[in-house]
Amino acid sequence: MAGVDDFAQVLESVPGGGIILTSVDAVADWARGHSLWMMPMGTACCAMELIAASFSRFDFDRHGSIPRPDPRHTDVMVVAGTITRKMAPAVKLLWEQMPDPKWCIAMGNCAISGGIFYYDTYSVVRGVDEFLPVDVYIAGCPPRPEALQDAVLRLREKVRADSMSPGRRRAIEGVLPLPTAGDGTAEGGSE
């Protein structure tokens, strides 16, 4: 991406270049955010929910998220399931075969931290973020397809905040609204 960064900086220094950059960013981010093709890295029971997500009941096609069984066609890797120490190199290889820009969703407790296999195990990687840069985590064992849908929409927010110019990349606001400690306004609180 270094070449793109240099190009964006040159374009920004030209009079009127910022307007072009804004327009190009808007089109590129819209296109990327609405065609997040998924690499379904399903290795365990979470894959059932991932499969259900693409069929007619949940219908992820309407978000532009189509599962493709080829890393070279896809933008987002959905790691759904337990990753063992023997499987990890294969997952990393598939990730490296995906073209930039690419994102990663860790679906389910096993992909986040090892889940129920965290303790007393010799064979399981404790979270896919040990070797992949994860953008969105979905908790659950397994999470429902609605949760995956939420993750895709949150990821779209992240993609929209991206820019060709490093200086224009925006902070992602409102993606994870955390309650402030002690203000008593958190949802689900008592009284």
């Binding site: 303790y119 007393d120 195990t121 010799y122 064979s123």
Partner: protein
């Protein structure tokens, strides 16, 4: 065929295997020594046990116990064959020459318990990576990467 009929059939054909046979919790069990394992399995195959369903092992500390489950499709009966091996020399004869299905099962037992099957055509690890050290299902297996569950009680 019931297990009682199987016992009669077995005792009529192989009288020396007869005292080793017992019925435990509704399963026919043949407990043999490791040196007679292959001979007994050969006999069972001629008796009609044509399908090997499972090979596994149990760690009893001083000994390992190999467990085979055989099924006779014509007779409609299953039998469990067990053999105790000493821990210091965990070696047994391979039964891949009798049932080719034993190939991967024996590799799995070798991988996880370190039991060596003599006569196996390709005895190497099957589940774990090739460069793995140790055999994880042994009770004395130690791995620094394991995080032990804290005692919450």
């Amino acid at each position: 065929m019931s297990l009682v009929e199987l016992r009669e059939h077995l005792c009529a054909t192989f009288p020396d295997l007869c005292p080793l046979f017992s019925i435990e919790f509704g399963d026919g069990v043949l407990q043999v020594g490791p040196e007679r394992l292959h001979e007994a399995m050969e006999g069972l195959k001629t008796l009609g046990f044509d399908m090997l369903g499972m090979v596994t092992a149990v760690d009893f500390g001083e000994e390992f116990e190999l467990v085979y489950r055989l099924r006779a499709r014509e007779m409609g009966v299953a039998i469990i064959v067990r053999a105790r091996l000493p821990r210091h020399t965990p070696r047994a004869a391979s039964v891949t020459d009798l049932w080719p299905a034993a190939d991967w099962h024996e590799r799995e037992v070798y991988d996880l318990f370190g039991i060596v099957f003599e006569g196996h055509p390709d005895l190497r690890r099957i589940l774990l990576p090739d460069d793995w050290v140790g055999h994880p299902l042994r009770k004395d297996y130690e791995d620094p990467s394991i995080i032990r569950r804290p005692d919450y009680r």
